[in-house]
């Protein structure tokens, strides 16, 4: 069934928000110069992708545990990536690098 726009579908709306976040964060990732801000842009881009994944999967047939489990794995992997990047960043700054 194709969705007519009168029925405002909140899942699809959040998928669109996720897409907007992905694009905005992608722009910021390339443009921002300090490495920490690039990392924040990466995190927000990841959240955008997660919103898209859950939103697109659920806007037609309601809450679906599989994408939610994938996104849970994604959040934990994103935290591991952020922690790793921060370890490298701190070591780089401590040994005299410019963040």
């Amino acid at each position: 069934m194709s969705l007519s726009f009168e029925a405002f579908n909140s899942d699809f709306w959040y998928a669109c928000i996720g897409a907007v976040l992905f694009v905005v964060a992608l722009y910021a990732f390339i443009v921002s110069q300090p490495l920490l801000k690039k990392l924040l842009a990466f995190n927000i881009m990841g959240s955008g992708v997660f919103l898209m994944m859950v939103g697109l999967a659920q806007y037609q047939h309601g809450p679906d545990s599989v994408p939610q489990a994938l996104v849970l794995t994604g959040i934990v992997v994103a935290v591991a990536a952020t922690a790793l990047a921060l370890v490298l960043l701190r070591k780089w700054v401590l040994s005299g690098g410019q963040a």
Binding site: F29, L35, A57, V66, P67, L70, G74, W92
Partner: protein, 479 residues
């Protein structure tokens, strides 16, 4: 049999984290021998009974994850196991003077192998994403192992580029799940069409994977990372890690949604590959540092792999099969040759104490075996007969002629010449007799490892029928 290849590296990785320094080195080699035997046994099984699937946890798709093992997968598994053993022997000797790095090299080494085997075998999109992340983290960890400023900077750039690539890939996975409702590659392949979400998903995933395979112009992170790392690490990275994301790219374009990709897009990928060859070789020619030269050579050689797409999409079945065989052989030959080159360069740098090409004088006299291994691997990279590299380029040339795309024919030849150019630069200097500085003695085992891999690259030329038969290549598909 199939899950054994996933279990062995994970178990040894855990023991490498738990055990103190001495026993880690003891368990490394037996584990790798075990893994090589397992992959050879799987190859025999696949050769006899054809491709086979394995449902993890007993759940069939679309709910569970299935592992898919065919000829191509098994060839890659055996390649990984073989190169891992030689690099491990090299690392055992090479890392003796790096006590701190030794403690943390081996857990990362085993996790790298676990993720590589996971990627070769996986048949599930999100599983490939998590495998790619584990691969990236272990590779970044190995690059940053020495903790020196340049290696830290290279590791940060590598991590940021790889994370951006992974997110592109994940966005594609999200779109595909939104459209098809499943994540299993086999299921999507059956019902895939050329609708917008599939095409945009493939485009996003392609950009992400190109970034992770360091294809021109997204190659900026590779030279400092591979050039700055320890010798066994750069060998593993250049030979195997960059190939994993290429393997997924080939899986997507040729298996997942063949009709969603237009021949024009394939020509674009071919153009990027050509750009990689020319730009990579040109930069390699201008490098003053030996390891950076070899790193840029990786960027150049990866360009050849990109010719698989223009030569097999929208062309005759025979041309497609030749292209596929040429790409597989090039992948194998480049893995052996590049690993051998990095290992031999590692020995040279140990002996000389510095990495600059200008004063390599007297190397041919003092460290002959290492230079000989460098030479052998250069022969394969240049594509001179009888090496494996030659057969690969020969098949690619035939495929280009058959499909009437003469421009790839020209690029492949130019690539071979440019490779010769930057390799002879090294030889011209190293055969000068009088050496101005003394040479540190190096362990004989280091040369043996480099020579085995170089010999494998050359031998591949003679036995290139084996891997091709093993794959029983169905035209255009991965069997």
């Amino acid at each position: 049999m199939i899950p054994l290849l996933l279990i062995i590296p994970l178990v040894f990785a855990l023991f490498s984290v738990l055990l103190p320094r001495a026993p880690i080195k003891l368990i490394a080699l037996p584990g790798l021998v075990l893994q090589l035997i397992a992959s050879l046994a799987l190859s025999v099984q696949i050769y006899r009974h054809g491709a086979s699937d394995y449902q993890l946890g007993g759940w069939e798709t679309p709910l569970g994850i299935t592992l898919h093992a065919n000829g191509f997968t098994v060839t890659l598994l055996t390649l990984t196991a073989f190169i891992a053993i030689v690099c491990a022997v090299y690392a055992l000797v090479y890392l003796q003077r790096y006590r701190h790095e030794q403690r943390y090299f081996w857990p990362l080494f085993w996790f790298l192998l676990a993720s590589l085997n996971g990627i070769w075998l996986s048949g599930d999109l999100f599983n490939l994403y998590v495998g790619l992340e584990l691969l990236t983290f272990s590779a970044v960890g190995m690059v940053a192992l020495t903790g020196s400023k340049p290696s830290l900077r290279a590791a940060i750039r590598y991590l940021y580029a790889a994370l951006l690539g992974s997110l592109g890939f994940l966005a594609g996975v999200g779109l595909l799940y939104g459209q098809y409702g499943t994540l299993a590659i086999q299921d999507i392949a059956e019902i895939s069409n050329a609708a917008a979400p599939t095409q945009v998903a493939i485009a996003l995933m392609t950009i992400g994977l190109l970034l992770k395979t360091a294809i021109f112009p997204l190659h900026f992170w590779l030279p400092p990372a591979h050039g700055g790392a320890l010798a066994p690490v750069s060998a593993l990275l250049s030979a195997l890690v960059v190939k994993a994301s290429f393997y997924i790219l080939a899986l997507l374009w040729l298996d997942l949604a063949p009709e969603a990709v237009a021949p024009a897009a394939a020509q674009l990928l071919g153009a990027l590959g050509a750009g990689a060859i020319v730009w990579g070789s040109w930069c390699a020619f201008r490098q003053s540092d030996l390891k950076m030269l070899v790193a840029y050579s990786t960027v150049a050689q990866l360009g050849y792999l990109m010719f698989l797409f223009p030569l097999s999409i929208g062309t005759s079945a025979v041309a497609a099969e030749l292209a596929w065989q040429g790409t597989v052989l090039h992948l194998l030959a480049h893995a052996f040759a590049k690993a051998a080159m990095f290992l031999s360069v590692g020995t040279l740098v140990l002996a000389l104490g510095h990495q600059s090409i200008k004063d390599l004088a007297g190397v041919s006299h003092r460290v002959p075996l290492a230079l000989f291994a460098f030479g052998l691997s250069a022969v394969s990279l240049m594509g001179l007969p009888p090496s494996g590299g030659f057969n690969a380029k020969w098949l690619l040339l035939q495929s280009a002629l058959l499909s009437g795309q003469w421009w790839w024919f020209v690029i492949i030849l130019i690539g071979g010449l440019m490779t010769a150019a930057y390799v002879f630069r090294v030889f011209r200097v190293s055969f000068v007799e009088e050496a101005r500085h003394q040479f540190a003695p190096t362990h004989w085992l280091l040369d043996v490892c480099a020579l085995t891999l170089a010999a494998a690259a050359i031998l591949l030329g003679f036995v290139s029928q084996w891997p091709l038969q093993l794959m029983q290549l169905v035209p255009g598909g991965s069997g």
